[in-house]
Symmetry: C2
């Protein structure tokens, strides 16, 4: 179903700017939220930045655990992305978003976090502590320590969505409106 | 041709993760380069982050001027994006990339920078000096001080590319391979 992505190619999972889901676990509590503000920061070692608001339950979990996973969702998961992006795990009594919305997961390898099944790529991340950025800008810098992708749409360092429209990635604009990742084009140079 | 975008809606020009061009001017020297690693950081006041490598001529100009412009290019400009992304303005004698590649510009209003004609959105940015982030991570944080968009594809805070396929935005993967911003979809919730 999925295969490992070489760490020096992991930036290609995010380079086209898809909306992602951040999942986290600490002391048995787990959560998942949508985030559009993620971007690569370096190729090798692969580092990324992600903006996580102070008000979120995810913020509490990732600051406590020092880790999180990035899940790259696809068109088939549009409503899941919206659901986990508009509810707070803190408001759920005796359950979590995974149970609440019937989301299946598998286990991360290098960190303790649930990875969402049905996504097309996953990056396991370890936070590089930068308290000033975190407190001033809600900005987290993290090292990617493992990466995987659904080999039907990403292999040998390249996305290939043709024939898999339901597995295309998503780009959030605002208020539940997204663009689907469209046609591949290549510069003539 | 273009209209002002309210500053609290400026993040929507970048939220879907397009590849952008950074343009800059200082003491009569000007340059433009491609960058994929840009993302909103806050809504209001609008702030963004962008990664600008130390080796680039743009880095020299924006650190000297304290400002830069983000130009959001479109499909019609695919080869321009590639050209300005694979050459250095430092290597051009007695000219610059604008003259070299026949690029027309208009003048920014709040900062001193050339804005590239034919793009579909522009954000004028003033750097918030953070020397540690700049030196350690090549990461710049900036405040958006003015924003515009081509009203054929962005108005009232929303992108609407239907009927304007040549004006769709681009998402770089690697090596001159891009995805075009695809179909609009809306979550059912």
């Amino acid at each position: 179903m999925y295969s490992h992505v070489q760490l020096n190619k992991a930036y290609r999972l995010l380079n086209h700017g898809p909306t992602i889901l951040v999942s986290s676990r600490h002391n048995g509590k787990q959560n998942i939220m949508a985030a559009a503000w993620v971007t690569p920061l370096d190729f090798d070692p692969p580092r990324i930045t992600v903006v996580i608001d102070k008000s979120t339950y995810t913020r509490e979990l990732i600051e406590a655990s020092g880790t999180f996973a990035i899940n790259v969702p696809c068109v088939a998961q549009l409503d899941v992305v919206r659901k986990v992006g508009t509810t707070s795990g803190r408001d759920l009594e005796d359950t979590d978003k995974f149970a609440q919305f019937g989301l299946e997961t598998f286990t991360a390898k290098e960190i303790d976090a649930p990875l969402l099944k049905g996504c097309v790529a996953w990056l396991e991340c370890r936070i590089i502590p930068e308290p000033y950025n975190q407190n001033t800008y809600d900005l987290f810098i993290a090292k990617v320590v493992a990466a995987y992708a659904d080999e039907r749409v990403f292999s040998a360092g390249h996305w290939h969505f043709e024939g898999h429209d339901d597995l295309r990635t998503l780009h959030h604009v605002a208020g539940g409106e997204f663009f689907v990742t469209g046609a591949a084009v290549k510069a003539s140079l």
